[in-house]
């Protein structure tokens, strides 16, 4: 996956456990700045190795860590150089998810080796979305759950995300949401 993912993981560790902990992780799996270049595409094995190590340090299972990282990823992308692109993609959760593929097209044009997933809103009702996710990678459903949870928070919505169904190369997620009463 591309280095921005690695950077996001690093920032998550630093935020939660401190910079020293990240140094320990670097030492454990022998990585450093060359593995953290944002616009470089790395072997998935490396990404999963980093993730697995982080999960261990956080005392979480890999799926738990993936889901947490999915939530973190939305706020991380919002903070950095992709902030304006995130805002351009959509101002509601439905339009954002609906426009994700177009946004990913631009990412793919900049990084042709990147293998990016596809999202399609297949049902939209007030307070409920059914989103189809397609990817060449398997096992990332918890991450996608976390992403949608992160988006709910981004658009100040309360709600739940669940894996609705899945099959060969795809999964469907149900997102139920309502306005956040605290805002």
């Amino acid at each position: 996956m591309y280095g921005m993912i690695h950077n996001g993981m690093r920032e998550m560790v630093i935020d939660r456990l401190g910079e020293d902990e990240w140094r320990v992780i670097e030492g454990m799996i022998n990585i450093g700045p060359p593995e953290m270049i944002g616009m470089t595409v790395y072997d998935d094995a490396l990404t999963f190795c980093i993730l697995g190590t982080i999960a261990g340090r956080l005392g979480q299972s890999v799926p738990e860590c993936l889901r947490g990282f999915g939530r973190y990823w939305v706020s991380y992308a919002e903070r950095g150089s992709f902030r304006s692109i995130m805002q351009f993609t959509g101002s509601t959760i439905e339009s954002f998810i609906g426009n994700l593929d177009r946004m990913h097209r631009a990412v793919a044009a900049a990084m042709p080796q990147a293998s990016l997933p596809s999202f399609r809103v297949i049902e939209a009702q007030p307070g409920r979305l059914l989103v189809q996710y397609q990817s060449k990678r398997s096992g990332l459903e918890p991450f996608v759950c976390g992403l949608f949870e992160g988006l709910l928070a981004r658009f100040e919505l309360e709600g739940e995300v669940r894996l609705y169904t899945s099959g060969e190369g795809y999964a469907e997620f149900e997102i139920r949401h309502r306005a956040d009463r605290s805002t």
Partner: protein, 546 residues
Amino acid sequence: MDRPFLIGLDALDQPYPGHLIVDKDQRILRHGPLIARLCPTLRIGDAIHDHFTWLSPPHGGNLPQLASQPGSVVQLRCDSSTSAIFTGCVVADGDRYLLALQVAPASLSAVEMDWRISDFAPGDPQVDLLLLVAMQKAMLQEANELAEKLADERQKAEALRDRLARLSSYLAHDFNNHLSILRLKVGRINWAVGDNPRARRVTQIVAETIDRASEVARSWIALSRDDREPAQIVRLDELINEHMPYFRALAGKRIAVEADLGATGVLVFVAPSRLVNCLTNLVINACDATESTGTIAISTRLGDDTADPAGPQVCISVQDTGSGMTDEQLSRAFNPYFTTKMKGSGIGLASVREFAVDADGQAWLESRPGAGTTAFLRLPVAGTAGAAGQDQPDDGSHRQVVGINGQPAQRARVLIVEDEQYALEALAELLAAEGFEVSLAGSLAEARANLQSLAEAGAAPDILLSDLLLPDGRGSTLAREAQEMFPALHVVMMSGKGFADNCSANGWAWIAKPIDSRILTTTLYEALASGVHPSVVAERASPSVG
């Protein structure tokens, strides 16, 4: 409404989010979601011209006529969002007119200007273009941040390397000092035991052990040796002038960089790349202190203080018209890691000072808040071949002190300056035994007092044998002062730290510690016998005692 234009009105919103449906009087009957977003004050019944400016045709033209002419294109600008230009065609259905409009942001930076993908029709290629431009900017920003980070890390790594090198150097220096004492004492013992084979064998073993320890110290010195470009004689103004285009590129278009170089022909003994790095740091600091536009002036001037005991000096200054510094900032400016910049490492000025000190010079700042800052770098002017005294007429007085076989015919006077007491004693003992008349000093201050006494007594020393690093100053400073007082004085420097590059430039001899007594005496004899100032790097391979 029913199904005008043969399509459901709701179906218009996605392909034409910026559409308008108006009546024959150009009053708005319906609009797309983008219009609602860009014109929040627009109400049904408002006229087009209340919220838009017709660009084509000017003043709106005739809607029935526009609708009847296939290929007619209309263009409007949204008054409340001048970055939005709408372009499209007019379609008529009875007395209602559809302005089927697509929006075109006036700038390719639309992504940063609060636009959304949903403001465009699905498949509108502008979206891909705008996203690509935004991706490029994001990647550029990332690359810039990475480059800044790398530069910062590199500076930190260099600073750490320099500190380690310095530490190794000082350790080696101290170690060599102690070995020097041992070596000299063993030399004396060897002399005292005469032909006793067993005693000589013992001294031989001790000497060899000292040599092996010396190898360890030499490896420390090699570790500490600066593997950057070595110092060399450089024409200062030429070097700066050569790099002016680079300094101007650093400053960019908003800041002018001017040169006022008044040290024509002045030579300095520095590593050119280090001096350029120094000036780079100063120019960058000057740029960072300048908020909008300004000027940076790089100047050189030859010092006019002929009485400066350190010898002739040249001063480089880098002056800016920036925000200036407070007294508190000035007092800490050269501290490593002190910075007033958000992303500064704080190492730039510290490395400038380090460079100045290494070159036997000085660095300092003058500044007032609001009145800009001037950074000064003062460096010794490199002498021509040999130091002061070389141009004095040779009256043969040197040769008078040398007899047959290089041994002193009359007692040559040596002032030994060494802060390590045992080393001082050992050197004194050795040289006295060799027939020299020795004066001793354990510090710079003591040596100065000693020189004064010798001058008053009319007993000019022939040789100054001095450690390079003394607790209260540098041996090189003492040497320059001494040669001012006694132009015919020969200088021999000693150090366990490493190579002292400026010895050769000053025409001084140089001996590395631990000192071999034979090498020491030979160097002194050569200095006296030749009448010139040899430049010797005493990394000789013959450490045998005797």
